[in-house]
Symmetry: C2
Subunit: 239 residues, 2 copies
DNA sequence: GTGTGAAATCTGGTATATCAGATTTGATAT
DNA sequence: ATATCAAATCTGATATACCAGATTTCACAC
């Protein structure tokens, strides 16, 4: 048992530089985890392919210990499956990606619903401000800016929902990275569509329309997800 | 690259006993993971409490290696948080539990929606049969049987949805164990309520009413989840 | 040629050792 | 008494060693 935010500080510059390194410094296992995750999601492993711990350790130039830990994380994320005493195999293909999109849609719509119920004045103003900036970025066609604003937009909704667990869970359902997101934001049609959806979502949340926000968010995630699927896997499917 | 289900078998009794042990045999890390998970969900650790790898290893009478792996799994599940180079702390309290219920509601309703769209004749018949058996078990008041049927019911829906990733994800959002489930099924009022909801869900899915199934499932998970919350944390909250 | 089974090999699971960052302690100066 | 800083200590992160289950190899019997 221990208190979380023990406030006894004798250092002078306590407030200014509060324990920065803590969450930024990288450990080998996190590097391996991140790298492997990206590789799997980028399709650089075949579904069903076996991965060998010693090989990976050699490739990364590290021991098997951090490899094992990274594999446990990937296993819990559902990207690989561990067969006891027989190793781990890759579990990712287009249908898995589809389901990740559906999971994200379900969770983001739930969190949007809660955000609409729980948002306060400050959050409302900020969210609408982000939506406004998106409008400008869309007009000017700044793809990089849009990618960043997109993240900010969803982060604001997560914060407004006051949900920690759900927000964390949603993070794990993302299978396309910034570079892919950038590509899609280069298409004017998609940009416009995305803008309209974001505006509608922001409006619904700001006005406290929980059910509307939920529905709009779900449709937005599914639709944009399908667009990504089409790019990443080169096919278009309806769900 | 390797083929998944290589069919070359020369052994005679191939079909009869297909690799039973594989997924049943327990490794130390899984035992630790399961035990720790149950302990955390049962509230046997305070939120924010630090856990020490060496202590755990000693308590379990094992080395730190499987402990580390189990902690990585718990971390990915969101039940503990790893502070790089500073250890892991417990992340579970009633609000975390609430969010787990909401996550499950979001995911189960999504999967119910898909099940309604994708279920076939065989699945339809089986699902309705399970619902029928629940009716009988409810009448006879067999709590153990109800707990089991409850699981079977949801499993059938998962199977009908043809979703693998979503089904796995849902499993991780369960924070009450069989013993607690049993307690709740002893209450006649809850039993009746639960029966009605299950029947309605089965009906909606069987008749292909995707939106209805989705809504009914969501409400069912949230409502029954709140009942569990009340038991486990001794309070009743609306969401 | 085919099925059998034991030996060799591979590979994941576990234990132990070592390293380094983080925390605590305590002596010292103000 | 309090702030400072370095030594001692703690503990997570990594590396290495070893064991046992799983797979493969291959000689042998039918």
């Amino acid at each position: 048992m221990e208190v979380e935010g023990s406030l006894k500080r004798s250092n002078k510059q306590a407030e200014s530089f509060e324990k920065i390194g803590a969450s930024f410094q990288m450990t080998v296992r996190d590097h391996v985890h991140r790298t492997m995750r990206n590789a799997i999601l980028a399709g650089r492993f075949a579904a069903g392919e076996k991965v060998n711990e010693r090989n990976l350790a050699e490739q990364f130039g590290v021991s098997t210990t951090p490899i094992k830990e990274a594999l446990r994380q990937l296993e819990t994320e559902g990207l690989v499956e561990a067969l006891p005493r027989r190793g781990v195999v890759i579990r990712f293909d287009s249908s898995w990606a589809e389901e990740m999109i559906l999971a994200r849609a379900a969770l983001e719509s739930m969190i949007a619903h809660l955000a609409a119920k729980r948002i306060d004045e400050k959050g409302r103003a900020e969210l609408l401000a982000v939506a406004e900036r998106m409008k400008e970025a869309t007009a000017s066609g700044d793809a990089d800016c849009l990618v960043e604003l997109n993240e900010t937009f969803h982060e604001h909704i997560h914060k407004s929902s006051q949900c920690g667990y759900l927000a964390k869970l949603i993070e794990r359902q993302q299978f396309y990275d910034a570079s892919i997101r950038r590509v899609i934001h280069l298409d004017p049609t998609e940009r416009q569509k995305s803008l309209e959806e974001h505006a509608a979502i922001a409006g619904a949340i700001a006005s406290g329309d929980a059910d509307g926000a939920e529905r709009l968010m779900r449709d937005h995630v599914v639709r944009s997800g399908e667009t990504y699927l089409g790019i990443v896997f080169g096919k278009q499917e309806d769900i």
